[in-house]
Symmetry: C2
Subunit: 405 residues, 2 copies
């Protein structure tokens, strides 16, 4: 991408009400645009980050045999009423709206009810199971407050996966597969070292669920951890019984803040029972389908990664999610000529700052935008048949022979 051809600019400031660092930096660097608190547009660079995150998740889920769909945002109340989740007393983050032909609809904050209903057309026998179905979808949550940039959205992108099984053992097996897939996903996203599977409350059918929490100063969750025992638990389950279960004492735990980037949940019959998702087993008797659900916050992840690695100069993207690998600058006539040549053969991985501005402004913008490597061609580097390569992460600069680029 040529900087001169995109509508993007780096901006001097973010909106006054943007108090979150991720929101402010991503706005100034031209990745997002704030529509209102918790509601953002994704600009070309930001959309590329989102697509990179999605592709890593998609790749790992497809390896497990998961199938991708796209469900609707508009929700008929009926199935949600059967599970008791349509009333604002039970679920207080609904956006609701009215059909002009009459009747209330909701905007889906999650999709357990409609996917369970949908599967009633497709599951009848044990031979149809197991099934794993996921989507990348815009979710809506009517949050009272949303002041954390894209860490907490009223409209946000999520990956949600639902699994369907004939037995609890098979649910357990797949749950463990997803745990491993999630570890691979967060590792590939560059936050594997700081993202931990965390005990959280389980609900009706399971004692625990698991969250994946990325330790982060601005995270909205409080978690307790013991590094030696590899135990992390959410504050919500910090009680005597849980400490006994996990074999750890309160004194052995340290407190920190974290951002929840994923969660996995054994739903068992929570939705399949009230909605009547049944199958016929080998003995010809009718059974209820076991379910699990597995979320990852896609747009939140973009904010978490931004917060995690940013420094005083701007964003610092891991290579796997960066919109481009290289930020390219040519200085002087010969430098520009060499940069053009490099760009011609590396267009897809290069953001080329071909603007008619002084090098200092390009260098400052390269640091704000945060691509992994800056490449500079100038008379000085060309005298050595080389380019200057600077790592955004380490700040280290080296001369690389053009033939080695």
């Amino acid at each position: 991408m040529r900087f001169s051809k995109t509508f993007l600019k780096t901006l001097r400031g973010a909106p006054k009400d943007e108090i979150a660092r991720n929101g402010a930096l991503l706005t100034r660097a031209g990745y997002i645009h704030k529509e209102m608190a918790g509601v953002y547009d994704y600009l070309p660079l930001g959309l590329k980050v989102i697509e990179n995150i999605k592709n890593i998740i998609r790749d790992e889920l497809n390896k497990l045999g998961c199938e991708e769909v796209l469900m609707s945002s508009l929700q008929n109340p009926e199935p949600w009423e059967k599970t008791g989740r349509f009333s604002d007393q039970e679920v207080d983050i609904w956006f609701k709206t009215e059909l002009s032909s009459g009747g209330v609809l909701g905007l889906a904050p999650t999709h357990e009810e409609p996917i369970t209903e949908l599967l009633k057309s497709y599951v009848s026998s044990y031979r149809d199971l197991p099934l794993y179905i996921y989507q990348f979808q815009t979710k809506f949550r009517n949050e009272l407050r949303a002041k954390s940039g894209i860490l907490r959205g009223r409209e946000f992108l999520m990956k949600d996966l639902y699994s369907f099984h004939a037995s609890e053992a098979d649910l357990d097996r797949f749950y463990a597969e997803v745990e491993n897939a999630y570890r691979r996903i967060f590792a590939r996203l560059g936050i594997g070292d700081s993202t931990f599977e965390t005990f959280a409350s389980g609900g009706i059918f399971s004692k625990y669920s698991h969250e994946f929490q990325t330790f982060l100063p601005v995270g909205e969750d409080t978690v307790y951890y013991n590094a030696d025992k590899s135990i992390v638990l959410n504050k919500e389950v910090l009680n005597e019984e849980v400490l006994r279960d996990l074999g750890v004492s309160r004194k052995e735990l340290s407190e920190t803040t974290a951002a929840e980037v994923g969660n996995i949940f054994k739903l068992k019959f929570k939705y399949s029972e009230p909605l009547g998702l049944k199958y016929i087993d080998e003995e010809n008797s009718q059974k209820t389908v076991y379910m699990g659900c597995y979320g990852i916050g896609v747009s939140r992840l973009m904010g978490v990664i931004a917060e995690k690695f940013a420094d005083e100069k701007g964003l610092v993207w891991p290579e796997s999610v960066a919109p481009f690998k290289y930020y390219l600058v040519g200085i002087g006539e010969n430098g520009v000529q060499a940069a053009e040549k490099f760009y011609a053969s590396h267009e897809h991985e290069t953001f080329y700052d071909d603007r008619d501005v002084r090098p200092g402004e390009k260098f400052a913008d390269s640091e704000l935008i945060g691509l992994p490597y800056r490449i500079v061609f100038s008379d000085k580097t060309l005298a050595e048949n080389a380019a200057e390569l600077t790592s955004r992460q380490t700040g280290k600069t080296e001369l690389i022979k053009i033939s080695d680029l």
Copy 2:
């Protein structure tokens, strides 16, 4: 994709209230699932068709230098109030909702207002223009009736492109480029022969806009055409003045029905003036930005293509949008072995019916699902070192040597 591994099945019937052929066929063949009138889920095969359509559009728009973004669905009323489009009296298809922290929001039926507001952060000088920005977005329209399957959605997928210019001449230049890009898009989608640029009403600033109408028995629009003069016009502009402009008489026109698959519109100052999108020109004076907008109905196109080519046996997809190129069947032990071998090397383009059902059921499903080619391996074909290749469109079957596959 293996039929035995997907949750999809072909269904005997569609929902009772599904009176549109596209909705019924796409449901029975496992492409979509109806949530309510005008609201559908896209299942794995359907999502592939949608992605294929998007990729053709994206490819042609990127060639024009257009940049992709993703804007929000939740809309702040403010800019829409400035253009007079937030009141239900002016625009009667809004879905509206309320923020729990107070205030009404809308669900975007289109995005002229927010894109114009967004560009105020990025456009200040004539040097910033022209710009072309598009997105693929879920749009919401609170239709009183929605009985045409995915031809008329309350929640649907659209591509919308907005262009920004310093002069009317430049808007005219780009408008003509989009006209050509649209012709290429509809040609690549397999409906070029039946899709016509159609005169439609222009609004405040332009005498005409242009629609792209695909002639279709179940289309909701009425158009008049003269094939010899290559003139098509929407019923809404059939009056003496327009006939005079176009140099055609009422008698020379035939009437037919059509589905609008795209529209292009010279907005000029319609949104930039009330919202204050200005730039400084070469003479340092402030001018208003010229705008154009260009839509394509992505999910509607899937329905139009389904309606256009379907026959009494089921769907018939053009190769460019088909979810897979081949529907693969192996008959008998040797046939299955040869099919497995073919599948191993053509996985990405093949839907492999590896179910344990009789060949007749596979053949019927292959016709319902409508992939371009059915490939059958059996003892009979293998005796000739060949496979049987049947075109879904022509029904013609031929033996193809395995080495030529």
